[in-house]
């Protein structure tokens, strides 16, 4: 165990842009109320796709935050990240101008940045010729663009880069952020993730994989994690950026603390491109490492924000993984999938879910799993169906799993420690 006051990392600011609203407050209020942000797609013509709904950030207007010239130069995913980061800095009452910015990092998860730009520019080139490619193309779609934009727009001069591990990308980023602070490299890191891959090609790709729910008639009821009738995930977009800060730095400036980041772990399954290891072995190993990293006894864990995509395989294997790690204690856990309301924003999902987990710990409320109606014998734990549950939460876990076999778990603890 780390000595008190050294190497401890706390969350002091959170921003979010999701399909439930363009702020953390709107997102949290929607989640607490069990509201779905899923609706028919309007940002492009999806009429020829098998799936025609998703979680678009409809309330987000980039021109409210950026000059027209900036909007023109940024892929949508970068605009979501920058907007969430600005909210997070404001929420943390941080002015970077007054601190040593070489000790501030920007580590962000994203895995499919700029797909809308790729589609637009390829279409342009196919009709007019390759000479018509915009010189903005590369700076817009390069994977590191969101972190580079954070550095340029906020003056961050410490480590700034993007991590990619599919749907665990943001969790990987936040794990790196914790280690940068523990190692004394950074005092604080803007971390999380952002993704705006709700585009025609990505939607078609996931349709081809048959990974998506096809409930076109009832979009808000489509994402049904752990329910027996679940038929796939719902593609969405969004971003959350969190301020991770060393506890000394936070105390020096008397910062408000949402939660402590107790433990982090990432593992790979060495198994299959899209399927989890049978029996939940991969995720179970990851959760154990995370608990060990934070020296957390399983008896302290009260809430788990599940990866819970609502694919038939994921939810069964995640349930098995929880049973492996927690044994008879698994029945005691409150487990929910906030994807039931927010869909799956790929590389951003772990960030948005950790933001909600931090609020769950801070406010002592477990968010619900909506659309859970028909119990599945393979998924027989407490998934907090329908309504948020006020409850004592000492420690909460947030799980993430990505195509390629990337697992990641982060443990948050109540602050101040009871």
């Amino acid at each position: 165990m780390r000595p008190p006051g050294t190497g401890r990392v706390v969350i002091t600011g959170i921003g979010a842009v999701t399909c439930l609203g363009a702020s953390l407050t709107e997102t949290w209020c929607g989640v607490r109320a069990g509201r779905s942000g899923i609706a028919p797609i309007t940002s492009f013509d999806a009429s020829k796709h098998d799936v025609r709904f998703g979680g678009e950030c409809r309330d987000f207007d980039a021109t409210q935050f950026f000059t027209p010239k900036q909007v023109k130069r940024l892929a949508r995913g970068s605009t979501l990240v920058v907007c969430a980061a600005k909210q997070a800095l404001d929420d943390a009452h941080l002015t970077l101008a007054s601190i040593d910015t070489t000790r501030v990092g920007a580590v962000v998860g994203a895995c499919m940045s700029g797909t809308e730009i790729v589609e637009e520019q390829l279409s342009q080139c196919s009709t007019r010729g390759v000479w018509a490619m915009s010189p903005f193309f590369v700076p817009q779609v390069m994977t590191n663009a969101p972190a580079a934009q954070l550095s340029m727009l906020f003056g961050i001069r410490g480590p700034a880069f993007v991590t990619a591990s599919a749907c665990a990308s943001a969790s990987s980023a936040m794990g790196v952020a914790v280690r940068l602070i523990r190692a004394g490299v950074c005092d604080l890191v803007l971390t999380g993730g952002g993704e705006a891959a709700l585009t025609s090609s990505v939607l078609a790709g996931f349709c081809a994989l048959r990974a998506l729910s096809t409930r076109n008639a009832t979009p808000a009821a489509a994402c049904r994690p752990f329910d027996k009738t679940r038929d796939g995930f719902v593609l969405s977009e969004g971003s959350s950026i969190l301020v991770f800060e060393s506890v000394q730095h936070a105390r020096q400036r008397d910062a408000r603390i949402y939660a402590e980041v107790l433990g982090v772990a990432e593992t790979a399954e060495a198994f299959h491109m899209t399927q989890p290891r049978p029996g939940g072995d991969g995720l179970a190993a990851c959760m154990r490492l995370c608990l060990a990293d934070g020296a957390v006894d399983i008896g302290r864990v009260d809430y788990v924000n599940a990866h819970g995509t609502a694919t038939p395989l994921n939810d069964r294997e995640e349930t098995l993984a929880l049973k492996q790690v927690f044994g008879s204690d698994a029945k005691r856990l409150a487990i929910s999938s906030t994807k039931s309301m927010l869909g799956h924003p790929l590389g951003a999902s772990a960030a948005i879910e950790l933001a909600l987990t931090a609020l769950a710990v801070h406010q002592q409320v477990a968010p619900p799993t909506i659309n859970y109606e028909t119990p599945d014998p393979d998924c027989d734990l407490d998934y907090v169906p329908g309504q948020a549950r006020p409850m004592a939460i000492d420690v909460a876990l947030s799980n993430s799993m990505g195509f390629g076999g990337h697992d990641s778990t982060i443990a948050l603890g109540r602050w101040p420690t009871p």
């Binding site: 000059t67 010239k69 010729g129 000479w131 018509a132 010189p135 903005f136 700076p139």
Partner: protein, 86 residues
């Protein structure tokens, strides 16, 4: 005012997201209108679309002011109604 001039100014205003009424012939694309290196490439692409052929690299340097661009386009593309985008 020539139609070519109007079209050049329309392109500059759109690409640099500035009010067309602010743009005058003597203005430098870089020093007065704030174009950076990538903006200049994007502008060049749009001027090429207007004239209908790739602008030779030896001509690029001369396109430093609004007036120079207008003069160049008028020289190489006397009939503004003729070719559209390539």
């Amino acid at each position: 005012m020539s139609e070519i001039r109007d079209r050049v100014i329309e392109i500059i205003a759109k690409e640099l997201t500035i009010d067309a009424a602010r743009i005058s012939d003597d203005m430098s694309l870089v020093d007065d209108l704030g174009a950076d290196s990538v903006d200049r490439l994007e502008l060049l692409l749009q001027f090429e679309t207007l004239v209908g052929f790739p602008i030779p690299s030896e001509d690029e340097e001369s396109l430093a002011t609004v007036g120079a661009v207008v003069a160049y386009v008028e020289k190489v593309m006397p009939d503004v109604n003729a070719p559209g985008p390539r």
